[in-house]
Point group: C2
Chain length 278, copies 2
Amino acid sequence: MEARPTTATDPVPAPAAPDPRPRRAGYRRLPVQQRREQLITVALELFAARPPEEVSLDDVAEAAGASRPLVYRYFAGGKQQLYEAALRTAADELTSRFAVPLAGTPSEQLAAVLDGYFAFVAEHDAGYSALLRGGSVVETARTSAIVDDVRRAALKRTLRHLGVREAGPRLTLLVRSWIAVVEGASLTWLDEGRTLPVGELRDWLVDQFTAMAAATALHDPQTARVLALLLALEEPEASRGEQGPGASRAQQEPQESRAQQGPQASRAERLREVLAAR
Amino acid sequence: MEARPTTATDPVPAPAAPDPRPRRAGYRRLPVQQRREQLITVALELFAARPPEEVSLDDVAEAAGASRPLVYRYFAGGKQQLYEAALRTAADELTSRFAVPLAGTPSEQLAAVLDGYFAFVAEHDAGYSALLRGGSVVETARTSAIVDDVRRAALKRTLRHLGVREAGPRLTLLVRSWIAVVEGASLTWLDEGRTLPVGELRDWLVDQFTAMAAATALHDPQTARVLALLLALEEPEASRGEQGPGASRAQQEPQESRAQQGPQASRAERLREVLAAR
């Protein structure tokens, strides 16, 4: 986004291209930067509520209490440029949500990031779906690049959380794949009218990470080391509030006894039990 | 695709729109249906080698030994229509590859489907990437719908392989997520110049299925039942040719001894070992 003077106010339309419609009483003059941000905010709300092809520049102008020529002053490229600016703003916001404090167990950190992610998805609903589902009229190589930037940021942030500096191709593939699963799960969640409880979906995704990392560890020593470290840092799920206090001490007991504790056992142990089911 | 008489030959361009270029000696008259199929085949080859925006209708005409007006006779909508026809043909071919014989263990069946999938990806290379990566100029709601059809067919076929008639939302989410992982892995494979061995990638994806199913089984009784059945049908990986004959009998030994056999143990057991690493 270009730096603009924040003291200027809305430029008056040039006489050659006057607004053909009468100015409405609701129109307000705003400082340039503030107007730009307001138009993007309004556009984001509209693009969140409806697919991009159902949002017109007039809709944005009306919702912003501005004229159509004024919107063109800020976004000469029209709806496509406004869409891309709104997408960039949303992408920056989403990326900023990846930065959770490095407190708690790895599962807790992952769960916190996912909570932020699902809150974002809920806010941007139809626009999020349209963008990730593909085939939208406003989708271009530029919008794809913005989405890819977010995925890259998610990859980088996840690897940092894992304490990895240089990820090999298999560990990278694992994290990318898990991010694809998160995206797909969030789309399914929206598709099904948010009927799957978001807390369950979040826990499912945390479990998916552990399971997918275990499957990758079979093929890759780097992932095996990362997983071993993660599991060592993990508390039994009891400490995530699903059990009373004291249950988290189960971690110090020998494995055999822990494996029989059912809900008190850590999720990794429950995964092991499921895999022994035959 | 519309039924067309197969005895007719290429229509001669109307006098009002003659081909401005001299007819080349290489031009051949072909029966209508045969010409249509030839144009699609040629287009598929070009779209496989280069991103869609770098393929022109003239390229297709030249590679097919046909004139530009002749290509328009078959595809009045020009490049976009030709692209969609080629995509539909490729989609049908891919979908047909999902139908593998129901022989062997579930892992072997899954591996066979994946081998077919990666062969398809290798054949359609750049076109496959461009389509799934999004933002391509030829991508429309129609092309997205074709891709979605393939994903739906993959979901349906996988559920049938799992012996499931009515999949609940969690089992459906699992299979959809795994399909997304397969897509992502194949794109990564192409991106990295196919340096990851495709056999390893296939085995990794089979392991991912088991692991992701295990994580889902923690949340869903239907998936737990399906997984238990799959594991019961599974032979130790030794029988997949990685060990000498006789090793597959390890399955009949008690679990404790199997867990210590390392490479002879089944993949599910190796997953369990990895999860016990802390």
